[in-house]
């Protein structure tokens, strides 16, 4: 049994909890840094990345999250979570956790009225994944260690770099829990290797 944390500062927290729990894994909402010691993997949910970053700094999560990732624990970032993981952000001098070797553009598909749903093929996950994009970012460049898992209109919208996984869309907003299951499998494999 693996235990997966969902960063609980702001955003679609309960939706990720529901989605992860359908795979049979245990979940815990993470509001304090000491809780990171008790989990095998972490989801950084969608929400507002600027808000989350303020709260990350305020509650000393910045180094704690980086350390968690650097120790080899899996992290899955969706939408705002993807932005927080990226090494570089277009048009900004500073990025956030800088754990994944990629450049992202915020609100890259436009404002809310341009937000959309589309069916995607995600490598190793599904050929027909219903993806919900909300003021979504996309990835403009990736380093050589980053595997592209999905594109939409030639834009990179899901990627993996070792134990880091990210999507520009919101798998937690639908009943399609296959990407959550893919992440839970990543956590199980890495926990198996660690022990």
């Amino acid at each position: 049994m693996v235990r997966i944390g969902v960063l609980g500062l702001q955003g679609a927290i309960q939706e990720h909890v529901r989605s992860i729990e359908t795979t049979g894994a245990e979940t815990v909402v993470i509001k304090r840094t000491d809780q990171l010691a008790d989990i095998d993997g972490l989801v950084i949910p969608g929400g507002e990345s600027t808000t989350m970053r303020r709260l990350i700094d305020k509650y000393d999560f910045f180094e704690a999250l980086r350390h968690f990732g650097e120790q080899g624990y899996p992290i899955f970032g969706t939408c705002a979570g993807l932005i927080l993981l990226a090494k570089e952000i277009e048009g900004q001098d500073q990025a956030h956790l800088e754990l994944m070797d990629m450049t992202v553009e915020r609100n890259a598909f436009g404002r809310q009225r341009e937000s959309f749903e589309a069916t995607l093929a995600i490598q190793g996950v599904a050929d027909d994944f219903e993806a919900v994009f909300i003021r979504a970012p996309y990835i403009t460049q990736v380093g050589s260690d980053v595997e592209i898992l999905a594109t939409y209109q030639d834009k990179i919208v899901a990627a993996q770099q070792g134990h880091y996984l990210c999507s520009a869309f919101h798998p937690e907003l639908t009943d399609d829990d296959r990407l959550a299951a893919y992440f839970v499998d990543m956590v199980k494999n890495i926990k198996g290797i660690k022990q």
Binding site: G11, A12, G46, G47, T50, T51, R54, R113, V132
Partner: protein, 294 residues
């Protein structure tokens, strides 16, 4: 093929705002203070509710210049208010690319009988409610997010508390009903039957419900979260306090950590004076914004 303006996309946008604070702002400078403090969105308007109350007369959609100025100033979502039933104000805001429209009783209603048919728009809407009947009628019309009405511009939390408790008590009552009783309940509270059935099945409202109308302190925000709000709108409470940046940051923190009383006590210390409040009994019936729509 991709689809825009679906329920999932419109309701999902509000899901991303959960646990956050949406702040009323009247210019770019205030919008930046709000963003810096960690607001999840800003509501661009010409005057905050307490000033609308003081000015009297007809309150309309903000000048598009102000909305545009705010949209250019921040990267977080921007909301704006249209008058109840004012199809053109709503379409104008939609065409400008506003991220969410508040069909709001804070402005003078354009239509005293009908709300907007919000299903027809690509942009999502938030609407106020005092009870489950109102909440489900707005959902029936296509609202993708709800908020309590409270009593805007008063700095008095009592009405927001009343409305949040009422909606949640009615949801609990509905969930415990036998299906035989639902149609009569729908008739009694003037609710769309299908929406009630859905709530009874899932055990919760199908859209996010924020608190609004009277939040003036970090403790007010935390109180509303404890009563089951998904997040908080703060209208006059920030920029009518004597230290907006402090109030904005503290209200954001209190909303995140609404059960951490030591923290709330710490962030409430010396933040400055809250906006001046109004006692409900001093309001004439015609000054009660919450009674402007049904």
């Amino acid at each position: 093929m991709s689809k825009v303006g679906t329920d999932r996309v419109k309701r999902g946008m509000a899901e991303m705002q959960k646990g956050g604070v949406i702040m009323d702002v009247v210019n770019a400078e205030q919008a930046k203070i709000a963003e810096e403090a960690g607001a999840v969105a800003v509501m661009a308007l010409e005057r905050v509710p307490s000033d609308i109350r003081a000015a009297g007369g007809v309150a309309r959609m903000a000048d598009p210049t102000i909305v545009e100025e705010v949209m250019n100033a921040v990267s977080i979502p921007v909301m704006a208010k249209a008058r109840i039933g004012h199809i053109v104000e709503a379409r104008v805001l939609e065409s400008m690319g506003v991220d969410y429209i508040d069909e709001s009783e804070v402005l003078t209603p354009a239509d005293e009988e009908y709300h907007l048919n919000k299903k027809e728009y690509t942009v999502p809407f938030v609407c106020g409610c005092r009870n489950l009947g109102e909440a489900t009628r707005r959902i029936g019309e296509g609202a993708s997010m709800l908020r309590t009405k409270g009593e805007p511009g008063t700095g008095n939390i009592v009405e927001a508390v009343r409305h949040m408790r009422e909606v949640n008590a009615q949801v609990r009552k509905l969930v415990n009903m036998s299906e035989d009783e639902v149609m009569t309940y729908a008739k009694d509270i003037g609710a769309p039957y299908e929406v009630l059935l859905q709530i009874r099945e899932s055990g919760r409202l199908p859209v996010v419900n924020f608190a609004a109308g009277g939040v003036a302190t970090p403790a007010d925000a935390a109180l509303m979260m404890q009563l089951g709000a998904d997040g908080v709108f703060v209208g006059s409470g920030i920029f009518k306090s004597d230290n907006p940046a402090n109030f904005a940051k503290s209200i954001v923190e209190a909303t995140t950590h609404y059960e951490d009383y030591e923290l709330i006590s710490k962030i409430s210390k010396g933040i400055g004076t809250a906006m001046e409040g109004l006692e409900m009994s001093t309001l004439a019936p015609e000054d009660r914004m919450q009674d402007r729509s049904f």
